[in-house]
């Protein structure tokens, strides 16, 4: 079965204010898409809405993933279907160690259809540890992070790496990376870029939200989209990133008659 993500005429509002205003986009497994757009254009709103954040109201439209409309599903059921969001601002959970959390998360997601919950479906500790250690090493994350409280006191860059660690452990079919590159130093961008590109294959479709082409040097998108005022106004290839880099958003704003709010 196809695990494509198909977004049709999606409208999302936050606290009564329309933010996403009729968005269409299809991300197929194995494809890499980049989504660019000025601050406040609605990129994170789209990401949160797709993942099922309760503050983001879906006014209309459809989101089909794995052949079903996921808009009625709880966030955890979307995750179990294979959708993943690396957050722009990951939330800290004090007192909960990264390892304990990830073991439960990985077990939940891999159990898929299983009705078992909690302890019954936990993956064996040894197996989990080995896998975690290996992936942490690849991402250049120190072993001690396994015992640290989730995102609590992590630096900006550490949080972003931890998001990618979760991506690597949860093995989704469609991953949305919301500004994973922001806050990373140059070396970290390379590590994260290389790690993500290693994960990329026919099984994984990626939607990368970013302001800078640097990450895209490591993860070359086949498709680039520009979001302006809640709609995708331009779609193309690599050349679009070059154009933005050279001229910024003004020419596009002008073209579509959007004045900065």
């Amino acid at each position: 079965m196809s695990r494509d993500l198909v977004i049709k005429d999606l409208h999302i509002s936050v606290q009564g204010k329309p933010i996403i205003k009729g968005l269409n986009l299809t991300v197929k497994q194995g494809e890499i898409h980049a989504l660019m757009g000025p601050n406040g254009s609605g990129k994170s709103t789209l990401a949160n809405g797709l993942m099922g954040h309760p503050l983001y109201d879906i006014d209309s439209g459809e989101v089909i993933f794995s052949g079903i409309d996921i808009l009625e599903l709880e966030p955890n059921d979307r995750a179990k279907l294979g959708l993943f969001l690396a957050f722009q601002y990951p939330t800290a959970i004090p007192g909960v160690s990264l390892a304990n959390f990830l073991r439960l998360a990985v077990s939940a997601v891999r159990a898929k259809e299983g009705n078992g919950s909690g302890n019954d479906r936990l993956i064996p500790m040894r197996e989990f540890r080995r896998e975690l250690r290996e992936k942490m090493k690849q991402l250049g994350i120190d072993d001690s992070f396994a015992r640290r409280y989730l995102n609590d006191g992590f630096s900006g860059g550490e949080k972003k790496r931890a998001e990618i660690l979760q991506l690597a452990m949860l093995e989704p079919q469609i991953a949305i990376l919301d500004e994973t590159d922001s806050g990373l130093d140059i070396d970290a961008i390379r590590v994260v870029g290389e790690s993500v590109s290693q994960l990329i294959g026919p099984e994984l479709g990626v939607l990368i939200i970013t302001h800078y082409p640097r990450l895209l040097d490591y993860i070359r998108p086949q498709f680039v989209h520009i979001l302006l005022d809640g709609k995708i106004v331009e779609s193309g290839g690599w050349e679009l990133t070059q154009m933005l880099e050279a001229e910024g958003y003004d020419p596009i704003r002008e073209k579509y008659g959007i004045i900065e709010a």
């Binding site: 939330t91 004090p94 073991r103 990985v106």
Partner: protein, 472 residues
């Protein structure tokens, strides 16, 4: 540390079905009639063959109890009927020392409480209170060799009458409060610990308590004496079967921390929902001594418990960590009291409470600095987590300062489970229940990591049971 990822509940293979609401068919060998008068007390003293001074002590305490009006503050005690309680139940004729001597049905209960497991893990003495009498008490040879006394208090009264007499009731006099008076009149069981000067007990001394007879009050009496420069950690865990009629648990714990000693007293309690848990716990800490209370309260109908430390001489320190979880129909009125009676004494109170499904938790705290007690420091932190709009949390802090040269800080925070936190965890595949359980466990983690490993595991496990079916 106790709570690294290496020892989650799951790995220890504790089954999900493990519940505490069982009880078995141990026949008490003696049971007093319901209600209390001097005759019941005399009968009890006769059966226990107690010395005259204890009989007098009990009768005197009973008279004080009779005079005390019903406690009006704290929680609602109006349903508590003192005439509807058995004050003395004896399960078997003597205290047992070896596991082999323990009757099979009692062993079965111990099995379900995980005691053999505990015994394997810690080569410590295991004392378990079964009904009002300790029937199993195993003291490892090492304790004997280093001169540590660890007995049930009834046996200690027989074997070390002078030592018991010297300290009994000196920290908490009968007249202290209504329930201390009641306990002093009818106490049975509990632990007696004496640690000689300079001796450091390397492993926690553990006692498991359990109420088994319907309507039976439990009145253990614990007395711990840490002689100069000694160290000991005492741990008690309580689980109770579920019954429909009211039940009363009213313990008294007295601790003497002599110069330079260090005592930690850890409690995890999960009483059945009908139990009144009204406990008086107090320690005196002398020069440079350190007393720590770690107190976890789950279950019960009403808990009123405020472990206290009196810092009697310079350099003394009192630390109190308390966790309360109030669920449906429960009121946890818990807190801490510290009395800075001497200069340069330090205290720290950390209280965390969780209220859910209409449960109510209150923090009741008392910080007292005596006149002339210069250079004292006290730091109080109260964090309350409220899981739904039906639940409630209050704080009643009292600070009495008779001395200007002091440094007292009080912080209180009330929070709700954050929507962002729930969403974050759910976006990784956790159900709402799993996510909120995880957040709650994280909330109390700073205290749980202070617990011995298996108690930390049990604590997380109990939280999980409390959270089950709570959302969705």
């Amino acid at each position: 540390m106790a709570n690294s990822e290496t020892n989650t509940i799951e790995e220890l293979g504790i089954s999900k079905e493990y519940q505490y609401g069982f009880h078995d068919d141990v026949k008490p060998t003696f049971k007093s009639r319901k209600g209390l008068d001097e005759e019941v007390i005399n009968q009890m003293c006769d059966i226990k063959e107690e010395p005259d001074w204890m009989r007098e002590y009990r009768l005197n305490a009973y008279r004080i109890f009779k005079q005390k009006p019903m406690t009006k503050w704290g929680g609602d005690l109006s349903q508590l009927d003192f005439d509807d309680i058995y004050y003395y139940v004896k399960a078997s004729d003597r205290s047992e020392r070896s596991w082999d001597d323990v009757p099979d049905d009692i062993k079965k209960t111990f099995d379900r409480l995980g005691i053999p497991e505990a015994e394997r893990k810690f080569l410590a003495g295991v004392g378990a209170q079964y009904d009002s009498e300790v029937v199993y008490h195993n003291i490892v040879e090492e304790l004997d060799k280093i001169g540590v006394i660890f007995l049930d208090t009834d046996t200690a009264l027989k074997e070390y009458p002078d030592l018991v007499k010297k300290y009994f009731g000196t920290i908490i006099p009968s007249a202290d409060n209504q329930f201390a008076a009641l306990n002093s009149a009818v106490w049975s069981g509990g632990s007696f610990v004496y640690v000689p000067p300079g001796v450091k007990v390397e492993y926690p001394l553990q006692a498991y308590f359990r109420i088994n007879s319907e309507n039976m009050g439990q009145f253990e009496r614990t007395l711990i004496i840490a002689d100069e420069g000694s160290q000991v950690h005492y741990v008690e865990g309580c689980t109770a079967p579920t019954y429909s009629s009211e039940s009363l648990h009213s313990a008294v714990v007295e601790i003497v921390c002599m110069k330079g000693s260090r005592v930690r007293y850890t409690t995890i309690q999960n009483w059945a929902n009908n139990v009144y848990n009204l406990v008086t716990k107090r320690a005196f800490a002398y020069e440079d001594a350190q007393m720590e209370w770690v107190d976890g309260n789950l279950g019960s109908k009403l808990t009123m418990k405020y472990p206290s430390v009196y810092m009697m001489e310079p350099g003394a320190r009192g630390d109190i960590l308390s966790i309360a979880f109030a669920s449906k129909g429960q009121h946890q009125d818990a807190g801490a009291k510290v009395y800075h009676c001497a200069p340069h004494t330090t205290s720290q109170i950390t209280s965390k409470s969780i209220s859910k499904d209409g449960g109510r938790s209150s923090y009741r705290g008392w910080v007292d600095v005596a006149k002339g007690a210069k250079g004292c420091k006290s730091h109080v932190v109260c964090d309350a987590l409220i899981l739904d709009k039906d639940s409630r949390s209050d704080t009643y802090p009292v600070i009495e300062i008779g001395e200007n040269d002091t440094n007292i800080e009080h912080e209180a925070r009330v929070s709700k489970i954050g929507e962002e936190q729930l969403f974050y965890l759910m976006s990784r595949g956790l159900s709402e229940e799993e996510a909120s359980t995880m957040i709650v466990n994280g909330f109390i983690e700073p205290l749980v990591k202070e617990l011995p490993m298996e108690y930390a595991v049990e604590m997380n496990r109990l939280i999980q049971l409390q959270m089950e079916g709570s959302v969705g």
